[in-house]
């Protein structure tokens, strides 16, 4: 599904050029659940952003379902994100001014489909993660776990083929973290491909494969026995 060949990402500021990623090769199969681990600043989030096409690689090749997306025009990337990708962030990234239902609906906001169908899919997504009862609340009125579940609902409402999760449990306590991981595991079991950045070895264990990174490079890729 995903193929990265020698992907690099450098940031140029006024004085120095820093390398966030250097020569990454990564292959992700359909319906895989991949965890990316590594110390802070090793390039995990940069890698995830490139996978999510919200950042562009400085060099290398990125094939998504066979299409080269490293050099695709912005409009095409927007379509890709809209139709095939779902994002879950450590800091939830819900919009404060909107209610939970409106935040979830944002996942469909840029697609054209009948309003009724949108409504049904939003309701189903909220049911799925168990936050339907809080749909009229605003994000700041919810606990962290609830906010993250709302963010997951937003990520899956469009039935994406790839879910990218950036430390989805990083801001949650153990119980809430476990709940979120259980949702992700189920989504994977139903066929969604998931790439997740995490600091938690326990949560990485839930994934089928763990990729270890250091200083912008992949050290090892270990496949767990199912």
């Amino acid at each position: 599904m995903i193929q990265l060949q020698d992907v690099s990402r450098t940031y140029a500021s006024d004085e120095v050029e820093t390398t966030a990623l250097g020569g990454i090769d990564l292959h992700v199969e359909r319906a895989e659940f991949v965890a990316i681990m590594g110390p802070s600043g090793c390039g995990k989030s940069t890698l995830l952003n490139i996978l999510g096409t919200i950042d562009r690689p400085s060099g290398g090749k990125y094939l998504f379902e066979g299409d080269d997306v490293a050099h695709a025009p912005e409009a095409e990337l927007a379509r890709l994100r809209r139709d095939r990708l779902g994002f879950v962030f450590q800091s939830f990234n819900l919009i404060d001014e909107l209610t939970i239902a409106e935040n979830v609906a944002l996942g469909l906001a840029y697609r054209s489909m009948p309003a009724r169908e949108k409504k049904e899919r939003v309701a189903a997504a909220m049911d799925r993660v168990g936050i339907a009862h809080r749909q009229r609340h605003h994000p700041h009125q919810l606990s962290g776990g609830q906010q993250q579940r709302a963010a997951i609902a937003r990520a899956i409402v469009g039935a994406p083929r790839l879910i990218l999760a950036d430390e989805p449990t990083g801001n949650l306590d153990t119980a809430n973290g476990a709940q979120v991981m259980e949702i992700l595991r189920q989504l994977n079991a139903e066929g969604a491909t998931i790439v997740m950045v995490t600091h938690s070895p326990a949560h990485a264990d839930i994934a089928k494969r763990t990729v270890h990174m250091l200083d912008g490079r992949i050290l090892a890729s270990a496949r767990l026995a199912a």
Binding site: T46, G52, R56, A78, R81, G107, R154
Partner: protein, 805 residues
């Protein structure tokens, strides 16, 4: 940390650190203040007329109102020449004076120059006091040959020599007298309604004409002096009783058709409600423009409040009280306004020459003396600073330190703050759009006035305005000389010209055989040869005057003849007198100004301004000179070249009279269009700058708001929003206030412009296109203002936006 010095230091740093905001804030305020200052000067000039002259507040002008059908209902500030003398007969203790402008030519060797001269009663300078340069103006006019002149005249005719005691030969209305300069006064201020350059005493034997003792004639201005308004209004009753005793019994004016009242001299300049409304409107434009600038300050300051939350928190942690913080932020606002006021003052100073040239005005900023700009300017800085500063100061001082320091987010003033900002933007845009619609309407009306069909051909028609001063036996020669000029098609003389009429005779004219109560007030105009062909009037029924019909010519009438004389009437007269059609009027007899027979009907000639309704006119033809004529010449080719030829021809044939000639366009502008043009220009200037200032505010707000939403945009893009989606979102959000503003502005502008257009008799229809066009322009301007910001944010990489805090 709450000393003013520290607060000012912090203010200075916040200016230098956030240059864009400082620029928008101070720039917008400075422009607003400049507009306000210029319009303030204009309003103060217009409302200050006559008030600065000692004694003016005690003088009251006797005005007369006529109640006859077809006659203007406005009061005229003129009376019969001898009115004051008659009144004194019954009220010997009454103090009053008269002002009578005269046609005057001053002789200096062989050169003749026309000067502004007024005949006044000798006590004129006792009642109105002007600074004396030489001699005593109060006593000067006791002798019939004495004159009081202004410094400018003294310099012109006597150079640096003392003028008092020198003699000055002056021709007044054709008769030459030698006056002796008895006093020199300072040049009269531009805002005095009754200014002149030469003053001579009214001497009945010299100046009284056939109308001097004729009730109902309006020759000169009579002032009465009263200690206060109560005494003046009490005397108005006496005027009514005086009329019962002397005016109505005379028989010329009927009871119920005429009334005298008193008008305070200091109210004279803006006595017409349309003038008052126009000046008030410009004052409001100035105030609203300033208000838009204040709104900018409030919007930008509260929007930026979040950026300074940390400063507030730290100051509070260090023991700063809310009061101290309030004071700091208020001081900042006043300092910002003061800085903006200085820049605004500079802008106003620099632009005044241009504005004065644009409108033919003499506005000036004075720093010292009674009219100093400084006290109102300082008051404005304090008031505007307080208005602009209070709300942001309250918002800022209210931040709770713990919450601010603990949070990684910058508070933006909350939902209420955002809503207030949105409401203020709506208000700004509503004002701007209403200004825009008004400007469009005014410009369209101005264009209409310049291009409208006036019933005659206004181009290539030249008026010799001093023709009346030419001796009767020379007039025909002057006309012949002009007719012989190359390119001249026609020449005529008449008692009226576009933009000029010295004498207006109206009588109650009615159809022969009907009761005179069915009559209409009709203006009587005597015209010479080829009048209608020269001005380009259109015949719509019957025929024009023709020398082949002796009965057309009043000069050929036998004295005492009872035969009706022939008249041509205008379309309005035909309608007013009740004829079914212009053609139906031809051949009909009229009465009321002698018996008349209508030989032709012409289309209305709009010789007066667009505000005045066209009155009914009856034209009479005379082949011999008549009183108060103008000469008009239909020429072809370049106006400047013709003027040169005209002046040479005049000097050759009428050397005794100074040359004065104008094209019809110049004459109409000078007399009727200038004031409206001036005001429309000022309005347009204010309106355009108000819109610009509103845009500055919108730009600042958009800059702030997009910055605040960068992260949200990142999230939306991550979820698949395209650049176009984001642009739509950001720009659409600012379109809502614009649309809402239209809803508010349209009815306001509609009512205001309908009233304004109502002041014109010749006016355009209030087209919906002005409304739609301005709304469209508002949308385009608003979009253009925020597009750059929105584009930058919409294009940004989402990953970068998500990292943004």
């Amino acid at each position: 940390m709450s000393s003013p010095a520290s607060a000012l230091l912090s203010f200075y740093r916040s200016l230098t650190r956030h240059r864009l905001f400082a620029l928008l804030n101070i720039g917008g305020l400075a422009l607003g203040i400049a507009v306000f200052l210029v319009l303030f000067l204009y309003v103060r000039f217009e409302t200050g007329y006559d008030r600065s002259i000692p004694g003016a507040d005690k003088l009251y002008i006797v005005q007369e109102r006529y109640f006859t059908p077809g006659y203007p209902k406005e009061a005229n500030p003129y009376t019969m020449g001898a009115f004051l003398e008659r009144l004194r007969g019954d009220y010997p203790n009454l103090t009053g004076t008269r002002f009578w402008p005269m046609n005057a030519i001053v002789h200096q060797g062989s050169t003749v120059t026309d000067e502004q001269l007024a005949a006044v009663d000798p006590n004129f300078f006792a009642l109105l006091s002007f600074p004396s340069i030489g001699g005593s103006p109060v006593k000067a006019l006791a002798s019939p040959d004495a004159a009081v002149i202004t410094q400018q005249i003294a310099r012109k005719y006597f150079g640096t020599q003392p003028a008092v005691g020198r003699s000055l030969p002056i021709t007044i209305d054709g008769k030459t007298f030698t006056y002796r300069v008895a006093a020199v006064i300072a040049d009269m201020p531009a805002d005095f309604s009754y200014s002149s350059d030469i003053f001579v005493p009214i001497v009945r034997a010299r100046f009284a004409n056939e109308w001097f003792d004729h009730w109902g004639s309006t020759s000169l201005t009579t002032f009465l002096r009263f200690p206060d308004r109560t005494a003046a209004s009490a005397f108005e009753g006496e005027l009514g009783r005086f009329a019962e005793r002397h005016v109505f019994p005379d028989g010329n004016i009927k009871r119920g058709m005429w009334q005298q009242s008193l008008r305070p001299l200091v109210d004279n300049h803006l006595y017409d409600p349309a003038d008052r409304a126009a000046v008030a409107t410009l004052g409001i434009v100035g105030a609203l423009t300033l208000l838009i600038a204040i709104v900018n300050y409030v919007n930008l300051a509260t929007a930026r409040a979040g950026l300074r939350a940390r400063e507030v928190a730290v100051r509070k942690v260090l023991g700063g009280t809310r009061g101290a913080l309030l004071r700091q932020f208020m001081l900042e606002a006043v300092a910002t306004v003061a800085l903006a006021a200085l820049i605004g003052l500079a802008i106003a100073e620099l632009s005044l020459p241009l504005i004065n040239a644009l409108g033919g005005m003499t506005l000036a900023i004075t720093y010292f003396g009674a009219r100093s700009i400084l006290p109102p300017l300082i008051a404005m800085v304090l008031v505007v600073g307080a208005i602009a500063g209070i709300y942001p100061a309250i918002v800022l001082a209210r931040f709770r330190p713990a919450a601010v320091l603990a949070s990684s987010r910058a508070p933006g003033g909350g939902r209420a703050g955002a809503r207030l900002r949105a409401a203020l933007v709506v208000g700004q845009f509503a004002i701007a759009i209403a200004f825009g619609i008004s400007t469009a309407t005014m410009l369209a009306q101005a264009a209409h006035v310049r291009a409208a069909d006036l019933g005659f051909k206004r181009e290539s028609l030249f008026i010799l305005t001093k023709f009346a001063w030419v001796d009767d036996d020379q007039q025909a020669g002057v006309l012949r000389a002009f007719a012989a000029l190359p390119g001249v098609a026609d020449v005529t003389s008449a008692q009226n010209a576009p933009g000029d009429q010295m004498m207006t005779n109206t009588s109650n004219v009615y159809r022969a055989g009907l009761d005179e109560s069915r009559g209409r007030s009709t203006m009587d105009v005597v015209v010479g040869d080829a009048y209608f062909p020269t001005v380009g009037g259109r015949l719509i029924a019957g025929r024009l005057f023709d020398a082949a019909h002796p009965a057309d010519d009043i000069a050929l009438r036998q004295r005492g003849s009872k035969a009706p004389y022939h008249v041509v009437i205008n379309r309005t007269a035909a309608a007013d007198l009740g004829f079914a059609s212009p053609a139906a009027a031809v051949g009909q007899a009229l009465d009321g100004n002698g018996t008349m027979m209508i030989v032709g009907v012409v289309d209305d000639l709009r010789f007066r301004g667009p505000r005045e309704p066209i009155s009914a006119v009856e034209y009479r033809y005379s082949s011999k000179p008549f009183s108060s004529p103008y000469a008009m010449v239909r020429y072809s080719g370049d106006p400047a070249a013709f003027r040169v030829a005209a002046e040479a021809t005049w000097k050759r044939t009428a050397a005794a009279v100074p040359f004065e000639g104008r094209t019809v366009e110049e004459n109409l502008y000078r007399r009727y269009y200038r004031t409206d043009t001036q005001r429309a220009n000022l309005f347009t200037l204010g309106a355009v700058l108000a819109v610009l200032i509103g845009c500055i505010g919108l730009y600042g707000l958009a800059a702030f708001d997009t910055a605040r939403r960068i992260k949200e945009i990142g999230i939306r893009k991550t979820l698949g929003a395209s650049t176009a989606d984001v642009l739509r979102l950001l720009i659409g959000q600012f379109m809502r206030p614009v649309v809402l503003a239209n809803l508010i502005a349209w009815p306001v502008a509609f009512v205001a412009m309908r009233r304004w257009l109502g002041g014109f008799d010749d006016r355009i229809a209030l087209s919906p296109l002005y409304f739609l066009g301005v709304a469209l322009i508002a949308v385009v301007i608003a979009t253009a203002t925020i597009f750059a910001q929105a584009w930058r944010v919409a294009r940004a990489e989402p990953a970068r936006a998500l990292r943004y805090e």
